[in-house]
Symmetry: D3
Subunit: 238 residues, 6 copies
């Protein structure tokens, strides 16, 4: 039995709250169990230097964690004067994942920045951030359509993410913090609504794992993201 | 008539939500109108170097704002690599204000850090942070008592803060963002439950103001903080 | 009796030395007792980005302290790699105070930077900086007139600052370092020659103070700044 | 046909040069085609704070690239004042990969730092770094044995890494820079000599890929690392 | 004729003002023509880590320039967040030069930090800093003797510095800013009272110079420092 | 007898390997005994702001050392977040030295950056960097000629550098690390092929030295650089 007592293939309760941030063009608060991430999408009418004049848009992400989102207070990155390697790794992942389902030529020269800030951390924050950010991004594009800045939504499909891990040699879905700390392996899957793989990051914490186990983790991830895609569609009213 | 349409001496709706952060020893989410600040109090069993061996505790604060708490996205301070002068000024003010109502000798050698993170900004965030942080601090001390780390609560009284300003030459209470941007003067008052002044910061934005006007602002602040003290007492169940 | 032995309403000896810096467009060395601050005004023919094209000028300030201006050597901020929160708070205050008496539209698109560097610190350095910087700024504008860059001086009035404090529950004027360290409350007043208030910053160091005490401090500040205004007028030959 | 003209399952020429750095306790220069990375292992008789007193050792890595290792000169990270997110991500990966095959309790309280510096970059630098660092680490432990600091080598197995990608929808092994820039997907596999998976990082650059394609990439990775394991054994004289 | 109109072997007017800084254990304000540097020596009863427990002292220096010490305002290094290469180069030179005439074993475990802050710059600031810092250091050691911290002065001799340059192919002594900007070569000599060379830094600005010219510059430096040594002795009352 | 056993006037074995870096427009690996520095010259078609529009080029240098180039691992400057004073001093010296033999007007508006990275350090790294960088720079200009970007090579002569020191009061040429650590004085000479002096930096480590000794060091430097000039000519095929 896994620590949370959930079935091996059970997600935690997922709640998506679209429009949770008053000022942002698009936003979504996502809860997966106790984990809670506020995702906002901010639209700006210009692109970074490397894209200027190319007629394409840009989608990027920043990630942060409130100092006391965690069991023990973490140092505030703004006070320390730099973002950790972990933070940078996560925000690069979020940006890549969302760009995989956006037609950037259809955006024109605009940038959308997704801020994913963890209010409460209980495992799986980067996956929750991707799933919630997709909703925020979708809503921001809809906002642009309503303002007649865009004629159609440049999103080409859904993207969502979930973590899986090996517990007592068996694959389990959607690790919480206690499970994540003790798992033999930890894998994050970013998958599309059409069944494609955008990113796999699988890491053995101690003993290396086998290809069969990797496939077992992926099977759970497909089941988990199917539920997340449904929740996303409901959140955007599709 | 002031922009918000409120009476000159009317606070915005104040909601204090104690225990809003799952992991912190004490916490309080405060809303004043649209402004929303999450205040957490984290207890650590040691003091900064300058206090070591003196048998006293320390209370300090950090302040942050989510990038899209504001109408226009602000740069993330962690990404820029340093906290702005404004941020540092505010977190110093919050720390000073709370230390004014704590018997630091009664704490023993422990540090409590108050993290005040603005989730939505609509004016008055530093004042809301002080008012909410007092509740979080009180609860953290109660937590220490329940854990038998402290025998009694070292808080010596209540402290709360409110902003006032001059609108059309008349004093008005509790400025929202639109009012703050257009006010002739802007003053923050940090007052105690016993009627004392902890801090006054009054600034003319354009034309200097008079002593009579300063007194008018202070009268409103007294009225406003009286309501905030009541809300604090209710929040801690006193 | 206060530690310095001065009467409660007595300023320290004030000496303003206009033109103390050879290269600056305007400058003034100010001494208030042992406290000594060198204020220079540097003129530059452009404005920060947020003002470009608006036809207005900008007045800003930077503040520093020589490492051994103090009793005990302080760390050099350039070596540490960042300015302290205190430094930033002070330089923001100096800039705001001077902008309160400048018609920025009359400046045209130019920036004047006031560098206030403390050569010897004995309390009241930020107030001395404001009082001296006003002289430096006035002289820099006169320099611009002499160079036919400006037709008239954009300064609209005088501004000066003084600190007051509570000693043995009584208000006293112009605290030196020893007094400042032991005062029950500490207040900085930035006032104009026309009797207006530009900024009040009053802080209880221990016990909160009363409104009556705040008024007592302000009465002393008015008396003190009256003497400072006279010294400023003498310094600029008015 | 892939750009390099190699067969889909062909590695580039691999050359491992053990002992390439004169001063380091262990070192290895690795070339995979034009890519050239110098890996050094430095032994220090203490551990980071979080491990002190636990009787375990630590293995960590740093990664860098000479500014002109690349076709176009890159900014020097030391001059810019911070390591990029990419650099931090890579050095975290190298450290994790090597720790997966080290019995840290058998090390005692010592730290080994692997510096992997890219002298020439032509794709696959992080994988080359892992493969070469394993040799450097092995030699450093042997050095400790020769100095009677350790009784036996704490390495529990081999680890090596290789990149694979999708070219024209077909999996190809060991991408060079030109191939990497144009591949549809890019995957790094860190595998052990015993056939286990330590880490998989697979990313779709444009179109998402399928599970079958992921398995195709993994099959190539197994073939490629088998050759790398042989080269490692030869390099250490096993 | 050189720009300043001085004879080729003429120093500018030198004024040493010992005790110029109220709080420092030793201090000296030095003026060489318009150049003005405030040198303070601060005593601290401990040494940097690399000397701990060795029974030796340390002498180090920091150098700074007020932003408007120069004709055109320079950026404040504290605001920019780092010291320039030039600043670091100069403060390393000052420290080395003074350590050359100190018996560090005779100091015991104490550190003296020489802060050399340029109030007005008109060429030759690093040389003036060395010459003035020697006086400050001497006085600080005398202070330690008066406090019975030291039994005798650990200074083993005098050290002073002067710049020379080539003007119209002829060596000239003690360049001011205008001369320095236009000289063909620029050399700083740090010499001891006993006639030894501590440091020579000679740089061709355009055309390389000859050994004969280097000797001509050195001859001037000997003459110039002889006068500086006399001024130093007078300043310390020797 | 000096520690290395070499004759007082003997250079270490010098090996220049032009074209050692695959991607750079010009490059040279230089070995002087064990010291090994990789010098690359990177051409960029624009100049820094202070030269824009003046029709001149710029030559600048950056210097680095691999963390384990040394006997004991040094901290990685990119990880620490800033370059040391020593690094900045050296890269400024390299840039100045090369600019002394370049007709910058003949370059047009282009920048060449010389990256000098120490792969193995055994004394004399800054001198080796200058000598090797000259070759890299020459080749980069030849590259520009071959690409018809330049019509002729803007280099006006050769420049090379060597260190000398006092050992047992006698001048010796080309110090290795062990000699450098124990020498009484240490001098770096940057000389031109035409016999001119570009830079002299001579420092007494303990006892000051005499003018006669300085001349003795210089005589060795002339002999040593004559050999280096021959090696440079051979390297560029002149």
């Amino acid at each position: 039995m896994r620590p949370s007592g959930r079935a091996a293939d059970a997600l935690r309760t997922v709640i998506l709250e679209p429009g949770a941030a008053r000022h942002a063009e698009g936003s979504c608060r996502i809860r997966m169990g106790l984990t809670e991430v506020l995702c906002t999408a901010s639209v700006e009418g210009r692109v970074p230097g490397f894209l200027r004049g190319k007629g394409e848009g840009w989608v990027t992400a920043e990630y942060g964690m409130l100092p006391r989102a965690t069991h023990k207070r973490g140092e505030r990155e703004a006070a320390r004067g730099r973002q950790s390697g972990r933070t940078q790794e996560i925000q690069r992942l979020i940006g890549r994942s969302l760009r995989a389902v956006v037609d950037r030529k259809a955006m024109g020269e605009m940038t959308i920045t997704l801020d994913c800030d963890v209010l409460t951390a209980d495992g799986g924050t980067r996956c929750a951030a991707i799933t919630g950010a997709w909703v925020a991004l979708h809503l921001a594009f809809e906002h642009c359509i309503s303002k007649r800045v865009l004629a159609r939504n440049p999103i080409t499909g859904q993207v969502a993410a979930v973590s899986c891990g090996l517990w007592d040699n068996e694959p389990v879905l959607d690790l919480d913090y206690a499970e994540d700390s003790a798992a033999q392996a930890d894998a994050n899957f970013v998958l599309t609504g059409a069944g494609g793989i955008v990113e796999v990051q699988a890491t053995a914490e101690g003993t290396p794992f086998s290809e069969a186990q990797l496939l077992g983790l992926m099977a759970l991830a497909k089941k988990g993201t199917a539920e997340l895609f449904a929740a996303q569609r409901e959140a955007i009213g599709a």
